[in-house]
Symmetry: C2
Subunit: 194 residues, 2 copies
């Protein structure tokens, strides 16, 4: 941001960050909002308990002020797990939610290397694991099983997943009123052991 007199303002507040999100990640906020509403509904109805994990932050420096620890230098770490996890019918459930403006593919740069490892570990231990991908330009949201994500990555040396693959292997999540994005309806159908 440039100010009169050439002074460059580089201090931003959380309000600015949120504003920033509204400008650049509008649909992302909506997907998160939709999932929060859905998960609150699941919890209130005793259907499932699924929650968002804290954002990983690496603390470098901290002060003591009035007996309270204030962090004065820290950085957002690359996520080593996914955003959401919890319990559904006693089972471990875990997913990452992402959106893209692309119409023809989902860029794999959205999923970090450590997150792929995390998904691999969950699949291995028989947890319920998937991605929720929203194509904002198409206004369509899909559930893609973790195993189908891994299968694509292991068999292809590509930087993105074609929309066709997601449409074929994935399951479209219909938007509803109370259960905004009722992804458990799909889980009921496709996870045999439930």
């Amino acid at each position: 941001m440039n100010y009169p007199g050439g002074i460059k303002k580089n201090i931003i507040t959380i309000k600015d960050i949120n504003k920033d999100n509204i400008n650049y990640k509008n649909r992302g906020m909506n997907l998160e909002e939709d999932l929060n509403i859905t998960n609150r509904y699941y919890k209130d109805q005793g259907i499932a308990y699924i929650y968002k994990k804290p954002t990983p932050i690496k603390v470098v420096k901290a002060n003591f002020e009035n007996g309270k620890r204030v962090i004065t230098e820290a950085y957002y770490s690359e996520p080593s797990t996914t955003d959401y996890n919890g319990i559904y019918k006693g089972n471990y459930i875990d997913y990452e939610a992402k959106e893209t403006k692309n119409k023809n593919n989902f860029p794999l740069s959205n999923i970090h290397k450590h997150q792929i490892e995390h998904i691999r570990n969950i699949v291995k231990e028989k947890g319920i694991c998937f991605l929720i991908i929203r194509f904002t330009s198409l206004n369509k949201t899909y559930l893609l099983k973790g195993i189908d994500l891994l299968d694509f990555i292991d068999k292809n040396q590509k930087s993105s997943i074609p929309f066709n693959y997601i449409e074929e292997k994935g399951y479209q999540i219909k938007e509803k009123y109370l259960k905004r994005l009722d992804y458990l309806e799909i889980i009921d159908k496709i996870w045999r052991k439930l």
Copy 2:
């Protein structure tokens, strides 16, 4: 910390914080270390996938420096969930690990109100949920089921759980060599559905 000339140093680095932990929370570091070793063993052997969640931090201010977001003011939030969770035989597993120097009781101030709510939600949804409590002065570590913690809280207006209650209702975790604190051995015995 007071320095010669009366200058008060209140800037501490992570190295200092770790040093601080060694001085004041020695046993706590050991319990965490023991659990990390145990969980790594479980993971490597394909027994279970259990990991530590990120510490919740509330970010207040952030700068941009060389295109990177640097957090310049943040605070440790009160935890709303537990420290560890993961999958064991497909089931959701979740626990909080705490240690006390007390010999006769475990102070409930160690467990925050939101964490109690979290435990309640897990028990309701049939997840495997417990506390791991180490009595450092007695050199004994116990597993106490979430339901027994809730039962105590709901029936008593006390600020701590007597050691007797934990000894009676809980299960002592024996220290081993590779599986340092083999708490899953206890879970196998007490969780009927496994």
